[in-house]
């Protein structure tokens, strides 16, 4: 019980810290948000009334308090005219889309990374291993802003299999998931390979071999299972990177998720929306780490025993 309380407290501190940090940085940005919102040709009276409506003449602490108050009652509205968007309704629409994208990308990454990593580890230095290494370097090095349009060109224009952008049809999920998944796959494949190679050198693998078990059983059942722990850790951390990458990928594919919502909020200087998006990202990150901890327990009986 105390464990859960401690985690909940930690989550709260992280979320609060993120929101305060972002608010402070937003305040540091040079230039007047009123200029950006109203444009150059606005009259002084309109500028003054917008300044008052945004509480810009009050200290940051007061603005944070208004934000916290409205956020707590889920009544938070966007902070640019027409002040009508309900922030949490918008996030409620966007978040499932991003979660879906993240999960499918993860699936894509695992589907690519496991075979590549294990095959690479089964014959280190072999041809498959070299090819897997090449893929890994490419995957990490290719920027998504470039890979995305390239995939569109190949699969949506030349082959004409998939839609270019949007999520009006489920097929719209394929290209963004591939874009987001390959970079992660490349990284994971390297990780799995190294981890399996470590495990292969262990005593219990030698024992399994000595028992006369076939090579693939040793590899998949004994070595891979034990190699999972470090991979899980990395996976948890990488989901954060997945959320960050989602911002770029969502823009390229015009995907109606959190990244699009955040970029649009920044564009419009909708500070309430920006803060709420950051809050959501933070909570999602913490939640994923919590899930990683739980997955640890499933994968490693020793962790369960310690509890």
């Amino acid at each position: 019980m105390s464990e859960i309380l401690r985690k909940a407290f930690g989550t709260l501190v992280a979320a609060l810290g993120a929101v305060i940090l972002v608010s402070v940085f937003l305040d540091f940005i040079p230039g007047d948000p009123i200029d950006a919102i109203l444009g150059e040709q606005a009259r002084e009276t309109d500028r003054a009334s917008l300044r008052a409506a945004l509480h810009l003449d009050e200290p940051l602490a007061a603005r944070l308090w208004y934000f916290a108050r409205d956020a707590a009652t889920l009544e938070l509205r966007s902070s640019v005219p027409p002040f009508q968007d309900r922030v949490f309704v918008r996030i409620g629409e966007a978040l499932p889309n991003t979660a879906l994208l993240a999960c499918v990308s993860l699936l894509v990454a695992l589907l690519i990374a496991f075979p590549l990593g294990v095959l690479g580890a089964s014959r280190p230095g072999g041809r498959v291993d070299a090819a897997a290494s090449g893929f890994a370097v490419l995957g990490v090095a290719l920027p998504r802003i470039w890979l995305g349009p390239l995939l569109i060109l190949v699969f949506a224009i030349w082959l004409d299999w998939l839609p270019v952008s949007g999520l009006e049809e489920p097929a719209g999920l394929v290209l963004p998931a591939l874009t987001l998944g390959t970079a992660l796959a490349a990284f994971l494949a390297r990780m799995i390979r190294a981890s399996v190679l470590d495990a292969v050198g262990e005593d219990y693998v030698r024992t399994a071999r000595a028992k006369g078990l076939p090579g693939h059983v040793v590899l998949l059942k004994h070595a891979l299972r034990n190699a999972m722990l470090p991979v899980l850790t990395v996976l948890g951390l990488q989901l954060g990177a997945l959320l960050g990458g989602a911002v770029v990928t969502e823009k390229v594919f015009n995907y109606p998720g959190m990244g699009t919502l955040l970029l649009q909020a920044i564009d419009r200087r909708d500070y309430n929306m920006v803060r709420a998006c950051v809050l959501t990202f933070t909570l999602a990150y913490v939640l994923v780490n919590l899930l990683t901890d739980l997955a640890y327990a499933v994968a490693d009986p020793r962790v369960r025993a310690k509890r």
Binding site: E44, S165, N254
Partner: protein, 513 residues
């Protein structure tokens, strides 16, 4: 491995359900960012205003020459310089069937001025003192001060009187009711807005429904166009992509006059730039023709004044500054600013040149620097983050800087740019676009005349004088008029590229074949 095999059919199934046929039953236009509202009274974004105009037009609209022409009004006239009478078209109806009368016009205008609505344009229309409706089709506006550009402001959307109250803000935001060519059919996601033809539109219902799709990334917009999922892009592509798009067989690229103009500002409080011959030498050293041709890929024209030649108030006799390097050098020599080593690497003097970090603007600044170097003027280009850049420019902390005005609609804009009361300062809360700190009593007087006169000819004469003086004294040098660009699928006809970026012509578009 088995898992992979199991999933393969699923992925294939996902791929197979896509198709490439375009939605032939409607016209699709792509924009860069979704409208934040369709209630024109609350709208700030350009796209929000453009889409709102299709659903809820106003008494007037602005035509391609920047002139206000009747839309819902059949005619309008100035009774005196502070009173304007508008007569509505006969038999106007809102899309819901109710009649549009002068009461609706008055109610809409009063709501914009009502603090309870909270329109961000309330101050902008604050000069309207009272509104009178002698009969169903006549509206008389009484202004607190003479304002010749009022017909342009009268393009404000007209809404049904029973919907203008604060309790209907949410309805008007998503599904406004108006008398325009289209009616909002569906708008449940930001990305896709469906407009249906309005059979009651006074100009005749459009042939096709309109889908307005938001595609945020420029590359993706162009790819959607190539795929055929989008038919029209208006001003949503940068010049660099034009050569590639011109090569596409099924796309037609149209380049027309645009209302955006970029200009080079001189800080007149700088001892060097306060000297007129230095500014003249800079103007003569610049090859703006080359900038338009190479940097803008031909989608720009050299600007002589802030108004494009097609604009009704353009002054054709304003002084022009074609490139003349020799005269520029002679001017500087005569001013005592001699080049120490002739055409060698040493310079006569150095100037700081501030620009935003935008890659395109920065590259234009570098071209300008290279051209000035040929006359022996050293220029240090420093790209600054937007907020910092604007802060510096407003406070006069610059020597040279480039900016763009968009869109130039009414010449009353000159007041904001050149009137001595528009110099940003503590008192004006750093508002005003006269960042050059230009002061000229004759210009100020002409600007006052142009603002207060209701007669377009008096206004034209006043603004022509402003343009002539400013082109001669050069507080700022207009660089290029940036063209409006339209990319339209070849099987769509009737789309015109509007300088202001209006989507109005889409209502007259149809599909051929």
């Amino acid at each position: 491995m088995t898992r992979l095999l199991l999933l393969a059919p699923l992925l294939l199934a996902l791929c197979a359900c896509s198709r490439s046929e375009r939605p032939a039953d409607r016209l699709v236009v792509a924009i860069e960012s979704p409208p934040e509202t369709l209630d024109r009274r609350m709208a700030l974004g350009a796209n929000a205003m453009r889409v709102a105009q299709l659903v809820t037009p106003g008494l007037t609209r602005v035509d391609e020459a920047g002139r206000a022409v009747p839309d819902l009004a059949a005619s309008f006239e100035a009774i005196d310089d502070r009173t304007w009478r508008f007569v509505l078209r006969e038999g106007l109806r809102f899309s819901d069937g109710s009649a549009l009368t002068s009461a609706d016009v008055a109610a809409t205008w009063r709501s914009v001025l009502d603090p309870a609505i909270g329109s961000p344009h309330r101050g902008g229309y604050g000069y309207v003192e009272s509104i009178e409706t002698p009969d169903d089709r006549t509206v008389i506006f009484h202004l607190a001060l003479p304002f010749g550009a009022f017909p342009v402001d009268a393009s404000l959307a007209i809404l049904p009187a029973e919907l203008v109250g604060p309790e209907h803000l949410e309805t008007l935001r998503r599904r406004p009711v108006g008398a325009g060519p289209y009616v909002v059919e569906r708008w449940d996601r930001d990305e896709q807005l469906l407009l249906a033809p309005n059979p009651r539109y006074h100009g005749g219902a459009p042939a096709l429904p309109l889908e307005i799709r938001t595609v945020r990334d420029e590359t993706t917009r162009v790819l959607e166009l190539r795929k055929g999922r989008v038919d029209v892009l208006l001003n949503a592509v940068s010049a660099a992509l034009l050569p590639a798009l011109r090569a596409e067989e099924h796309l037609a690229v149209t380049v027309g006059p645009g209302a955006g103009v970029s200009y080079l500002m001189f800080n007149l409080e700088d001892p060097l730039l306060a000297r007129r011959e230095v500014r003249e030498a800079i103007a003569l050293s610049l090859d703006r023709e080359a900038i338009a041709r190479h940097k803008f890929k031909g989608a720009a024209r050299v600007a002589d004044t802030l108004l494009r030649p097609e604009h009704w108030a353009f002054a054709p006799d304003a002084k022009k500054w074609p490139r003349d390097l020799e005269r520029a050098k002679a001017l500087l020599d005569a001013a005592g600013l001699v080049d120490p080593d002739g055409d060698g690497p040493q310079v006569r003097f150095r100037l700081g040149f501030k620009t935003s970090t935008d890659r395109f603007r920065r590259s234009v600044a570098l071209v300008i620097a290279a051209q000035l170097a040929e006359a022996g003027i050293g220029v240090d280009v420093s790209p600054l983050e937007w907020g910092t850049f604007m802060g510096d420019v407003k406070r006069g902390n610059f020597q040279l800087a480039t900016l763009k005005v968009t869109p130039v609609i009414d010449p009353d804009l000159f007041r904001l740019a050149f009137h001595s009361a528009s110099i940003p300062s503590e008192e004006t809360a750093w508002g005003g676009m006269n960042r050059m700190r230009y002061r000229n009593a004759a210009v100020d007087a002409a600007l006052e005349r142009g603002r207060s006169a209701a007669d377009p000819e008096v206004r034209r004469a006043a603004y022509a004088e402003v343009q002539r003086i400013v082109a001669a004294e050069l507080p700022a040098l207009p660089l290029v008029h940036e063209d409006a660009v339209g990319i339209v699928a070849r099987d769509v006809e009737g789309v015109r590229v509007d300088p202001q970026g209006s989507l109005q012509s889409l209502a007259g578009a149809r599909r051929i074949r």
